[in-house]
């Protein structure tokens, strides 16, 4: 919200006049953050107030005049060439941009010939100074303007001023007008608020004794609507002439970001920005029956708002109706039919208090956000309507030449008593850690307009002004006291140490990250949302829960429409991106949540944390000895990861073209990963169609593991226990086998394990050889089996017996031939 500095100061009687920077600093320090201070007159310079002392036609051009101006009484006149049709008679004042002046847009003036006659600068119009849209002529100051000759034009235009951009907290509806900020400034700097006198009572000279507001407007609030509209004040102003507003009033509106329209509309806005109370002006002639009824909309009811839209209403919407029909959507927007126009002469002014939530619901549902609804949503002081109505009536009558009907119609069925809040000083000390005493608390609260009575040394009884609906509890008062005392008075202390409880947080994700980073991979973090197509590239069949992602109702773009169900797509996109940016060799991992629809009472989804590695191109190379990543790297990394999280046995189960592991993996180069017999993930080469969907033209190897299935979280994680280091020598025996190509290594291993020879300590494959010199359809494998007994040195005979038993089973069961 924008605040005009001079306007703010008009509403304060401060003990000491602050600079605008001092004021901004004080407000910011008290939580009313001033996000910027703008010099209103910074748009131009070197333009001064000058008096016309003579004018005559330009000898060479019909439409030009030669104008003599002075900048001090009795001073020498300067002749300026002017093209405007409205050059005033001698004695009136204009704005002269002298040579050297700069105008908005960067133009610097000099002495320039115009149709043969030198013109030192120019006389300015509104658009030339960026202060309005009237391009029909130059600016001519009002006859009663008292700005001295030669003074900067900013003074005459109300631009010798600053605008403060205030970031008002959402709970401070009371500071959405200059008056509220004046209250803050006075509390902070010391001083008294000055309410405009005509807000307390309209200017008596403008009141028409023969017109009675009560006779011109009847107001009723339906009994069931009193919560939604606790107060409604109406005033009537008669004989108004609609005209442009005076320049300074228009300048203030422009400064707070509102476009001036005419005196009638401008006054309602002006008073809203001044006092914080939104107003609405009806054309009295169009208020049927001269009566206003405030009620809730009926089912199926409709009305056309002043933007011309015909709107369907709901029973929660608050309506202002005349004797015949709805004329406004209360606090949100006026109706089309009752709006004031240039022809309006009698005005019915509305100043009402509306319930914040009622207004917010309607404004949100209809997507109608206005300066008025913004204020009502944040709470408007129910004491304000009569003040705002009186103030606006006075301004309107003054500017529009009208008369104010005697009295106001003020319907306020259940006035709210100011809140009474008890405060314990000891509690304030205990919560803040600041050494506050009763006097300091009382001082702060009094400065904010509260009435404070001490009941005993520690307990204060605080009466809160109605403007501060946010101060309802002791803790609210404690914050206010601290705000006034200054947050900089809060010391830095530390809470006493306590023994930490056993952590129950799942540390598997971080252990996985550390393991994979230690293994040489770089960690990526990608968005949890993605384009729907990105998931579709996984080629998952309908019915797979990952093919039906959680969708956002209001995504920012189609690229972020759904939540990921797998980490693979984003990593493939990262592989593609790196390769496009000239990084061909990619070894990335991500550990993060995936999101699966779940049938849960609370509507949430399953969010297991997955770990995924993606490898493309070559491994980190030494000199020229690069080697491409392959599926065994993916498996090795999966084993490294699982080893970091679990003591269980890892096993992979190969897929086959007839039974693919995943549709997004190569059917012949993929496997399920099992830990202690439970599926925990998959690994393999990415299916060419999947990676091509991401624009990756080289093989990519991935492993994705569901960490929620691996080991246990946090304190439940297994703690490895020491085992005895073998003290007796072991012995190894190799066996070379010729076997069918279709027999996987895992099958060989299974047979060895099934032999259950107790002396077997370790089993390794040393060679997997396929070559022309072998019988067709066969391969040769070399296996090495280590034997050891924990309690003795094995004899050759023992080793041979165990080894031969295993080899015999291999040959019989695989089958295989010993080579």
């Amino acid at each position: 919200m924008k605040i005009v500095w001079s306007w703010l100061l008009e509403l304060c009687d401060l003990d000491r006049m602050p600079s605008v920077d001092d004021g901004a600093r004080a407000l910011t320090g008290a939580g009313l953050e001033i996000e910027g201070v703008t010099d209103l007159g910074a748009g131009f310079s070197g333009v001064v107030v000058a008096e016309v002392v003579g004018k005559r036609p330009h000898p060479a051009a019909d439409k030009l005049s030669l104008v003599d101006v002075i900048v001090e009484k009795g001073g020498a006149a300067t002749q300026v060439v002017c093209g405007a049709p409205n050059v005033p008679a001698p004695g009136r004042r204009v704005l002269w941009a002298r040579p050297g002046a700069t105008l908005p847009g960067g133009l610097t003036l000099s002495v320039k010939p115009v149709k043969g006659i030198d013109s030192p600068g120019m006389l300015c119009s509104e658009p030339e100074l960026g202060v309005g849209d009237d391009a029909s002529g130059i600016i001519v100051l009002d006859e009663h303007d008292r700005t001295p000759l030669g003074a900067p034009a900013q003074q005459a235009l109300g631009l010798a001023d600053h605008v403060l951009e205030v970031n008002a907290p959402a709970n401070r509806g009371d500071v959405l007008g200059h008056l509220g900020l004046a209250r803050e400034l006075c509390a902070l700097l010391g001083g008294r608020v000055v309410v405009p006198p005509d807000a307390l009572e309209p200017d008596a000279e403008l009141v028409a004794s023969d017109l009675d507001a009560a006779a011109l407007a009847a107001v009723a609030i339906a009994p069931d609507t009193r919560a939604g509209c606790p107060r409604y004040v109406a005033r009537v102003i008669d004989g108004v002439t609609v005209a442009p507003s005076p320049r300074k009033l228009a300048a203030r509106l422009r400064a707070v970001g509102v476009r001036p329209i005419n005196n009638l509309v401008d006054v309602t806005n002006y008073v809203m920005f001044e006092l914080g109370q939104p107003l609405h002006a009806f054309d009295h002639a169009h208020v049927a029956g001269a009566r206003i009824e405030v009620r809730m909309a009926r089912p199926g009811e409709r009305m056309t708002t002043l933007d011309g839209v015909d709107r369907a209403l709901e029973p929660g919407d608050l309506l202002i109706c005349d004797g015949a029909r709805p004329v406004a959507l209360g606090g949100v927007m006026g109706g089309l039919d009752s709006e004031v126009t240039a022809a309006t002469t009698r005005v019915l002014l509305e100043a009402a208090a509306f319930d914040a939530r009622t207004i917010r619901r309607t404004a949100r549902r209809l997507g109608l956000h206005s300066e008025a609804s913004h204020r009502f949503e944040r709470g408007v002081d129910p004491a304000l309507p009569p003040l705002a109505a009186a103030r606006a009536a006075t301004l309107l009558a003054r500017l529009g030449g009208g008369r104010i009907a005697r009295g106001a119609v003020d319907v306020h069925p259940a006035p709210r008593a100011p809140a009474q809040v008890p405060l314990r000083v000891a509690r304030a000390r205990a919560v803040t850690g600041v050494d506050l005493d009763a006097a300091a608390c009382e001082d702060a609260l009094t400065r904010l307009g509260c009435a404070v009575a001490a009941t005993d040394g520690d307990a204060l009884h605080v009466t809160v002004p109605t403007a501060r609906a946010d101060l309802a509890r002791e803790i609210d008062l404690i914050e206010e006291i601290l705000r006034l005392v200054g947050y900089d008075k809060v010391p830095a202390t530390l809470p006493p140490l306590r023994a930490a409880p056993v952590s129950t947080a799942d540390d598997r994700p971080d252990r996985a990250r550390r393991a994979l980073a230690a293994a040489g991979l770089a960690e990526a973090i990608t968005f949890a949302f993605q384009a729907r197509e990105r998931g579709a590239a996984l080629r998952l069949p309908a019915g797979d829960r990952r093919a039906d992602p959680v969708a956002l109702k209001n995504p920012m773009s189609a690229d972020q429409a759904v939540l990921r169900t797998s980490l693979v797509p984003n990593l493939l996109a990262a592989v593609a991106r790196n390769r496009n940016f000239g990084v061909p060799d990619v070894a990335l991992f991500e550990v993060g949540s995936v999101f699966w629809r779940a049938d849960r009472a609370d509507g949430l989804c399953d969010e297991p944390v997955h770990a995924c590695v993606a490898l493309a191109g070559a491994r980190p190379a030494w000199l020229g000895e690069a080697r491409a990543w392959d599926v065994f790297d993916a498996r090795g990394l999966a084993e490294t990861l699982l080893g970091a999280l679990s003591t269980g046995a890892v096993r992979v189960v190969a897929g086959a073209p007839a039974a693919p592991v995943e549709p997004y993996l190569h059917p012949g180069v993929s496997a399920r990963i099992q830990l202690d017999g439970v599926d925990v993930g998959v690994l393999g080469e990415v299916h060419p169609e999947t990676r091509e969907a991401f624009g990756v033209e080289v093989p990519v190897f991935v492993a994705e593991i569901d960490l929620s299935k691996v080991g246990a979280a946090g304190a439940g994680a297994p703690v490895r226990q020491m085992r005895a280091i073998p003290r007796h020598p072991g012995a190894a025996r190799d066996v070379s086998l010729l076997l069918d190509l279709a027999i996987p290594a895992a099958r060989v291993r299974d047979v060895i394990d099934a032999a259950a020879q107790p002396l077997v300590e370790a089993v390794r494959v040393l060679e997997d050889y396929r070559g022309d010199n072998l019988p067709a359809g066969h391969k040769s494998m070399l296996w090495s089996i280590a034997y050891r007994a924990p309690d003795r040195t094995l004899t050759d005979a023992e080793v041979e017996s165990a080894h031969e038993a295993i080899v015999a089973r291999l040959c019989a069961e695989l089958p295989a031939q010993r080579r």
């Binding site: 850690g433 530390l494 809470p495 947080a505 960690e523 939540l563 070894a587 509507g603 969010e607």
Partner: protein, 349 residues
């Protein structure tokens, strides 16, 4: 018929022959073989020794002495030869020169994401003060995200956080604060937790990302004060930035804390002076202070939602953006870098 003299002469000849034999040999095995050829049970010296028995007893000691002398000589020659071989091998080994200026062979060399590094460090720092890690879901109920934090549906504070909705009652959490609620629902005071995690807001520019990372803190206990909150944050700032930077509070409004404060710390770029040797500090816009998060004392309404007695207990809560922490410490100048998976960025840290 051998005589003592002829045997001795033969031994002398064998000794000479042995010396000639092993002189060119350069490996231990061949030298041992030669030694066995002369001195072994069936060796040439042994063969000569068989003649010894045929000599008159009086001559035997002379010959025996010669045998021992020649055996000794052979053994000595072998030992010297072997020692020489070892010395040569060592010298040859030490004569090797490898160009160690060639690059190292790559090992390990992975990278935790900068945000992970910062998060883990923050967890460790808060752990020093007794804070344990807590977690909650990212897809969260409206109730945990807003209602229980004193932000009802019709509250203007909802405008402060532009929310992604999954359904009318389920959102992507806009802050880590719902973890406060879940923790207080599950655990009685004393509570001291930090909750790091990703959060989501409909916002996208160089300093805002629709997904970003917060770390939330919550302490609930008897006698906790607003000043304790300040001390905890001061400890964090100094440990994390490794400098004696100061922290200040500014009044601010968050519906779920009261008193509420915006937390500023002295600018880590200019040390709070507002100026750098190269000119004005742009990170803090010359103010010397940068905003790092929001904080405050847990609002009694929040305690009421989770059944904590707000007369008996007080609590404080804070939240900070980890991207911002990393930006301030590592100079990351656009938030988008964190989420692109670009190795050129990831490998910098």
């Amino acid at each position: 018929m051998s005589t003592a003299a002829s045997i001795i002469a033969e031994l002398e000849r064998l000794s000479g022959e042995f010396a000639a034999l092993i002189a060119p040999l350069a490996d231990e095995q061949a030298i041992r073989a030669a030694q066995a050829q002369f001195l072994g049970k069936k060796g040439q010296v042994s063969t000569v020794m068989k003649e010894l028995g045929r000599l008159p007893p009086a001559e035997r000691p002379v010959v025996g002495e010669a045998v021992n002398r020649i055996k000794g000589a052979i053994e000595h020659t072998v030992a010297a030869k072997l020692a020489d071989l070892v010395a040569r091998a060592r010298a040859a080994d030490l004569a090797r020169v490898v160009d160690v200026t060639l690059p190292g062979r790559p090992h390990g060399g992975g990278h935790l994401h900068l945000l992970t590094q910062v998060r883990l460090e923050a967890i460790d720092i808060f752990a020093e003060l007794g804070f344990a890690v807590a977690e909650g879901p990212q897809v969260e109920t409206d109730w945990h995200t807003f209602e229980a934090l004193a932000i009802p549906k019709d509250h203007p504070a909802r405008d402060m956080q532009d929310t992604f909705y999954v359904t009318d009652d389920v959102v992507l959490r806009t802050h880590t604060s719902p973890v406060q609620i879940r923790t207080m629902q599950a655990q009685r005071p004393p509570i001291r937790i930090v909750a790091p995690g990703v959060v989501y807001r409909r916002d996208d520019d160089p300093t805002h990302s629709p997904m970003f990372t917060q770390i939330e803190g919550l302490a609930v206990d008897v006698d906790l004060k607003f000043s304790d909150l300040k001390g905890v944050l001061l400890h964090f700032v100094r440990r994390f930035f490794r400098r004696d930077l100061d922290v200040r509070f500014r009044p601010s409004y968050f519906p779920f804390v009261e008193p509420g404060a915006e937390v500023d710390m002295q600018c880590s770029f200019c040390g709070g002076s507002g100026a750098l040797p190269t000119g004005p500090c742009r990170v803090c816009k010359t103010t010397g202070w940068v905003e790092i998060g929001g904080s405050g004392m847990v609002d009694p309404d929040v305690f009421a939602h989770v059944g904590v007695d707000s007369e008996r207990y007080t609590g404080f809560a804070f939240g900070m953006g980890l991207e911002r922490m990393a930006m301030l410490r590592h100079g990351v100048n656009d938030i988008k870098f964190y989420y692109e998976g670009d190795l050129r960025f990831l490998q910098m840290f």
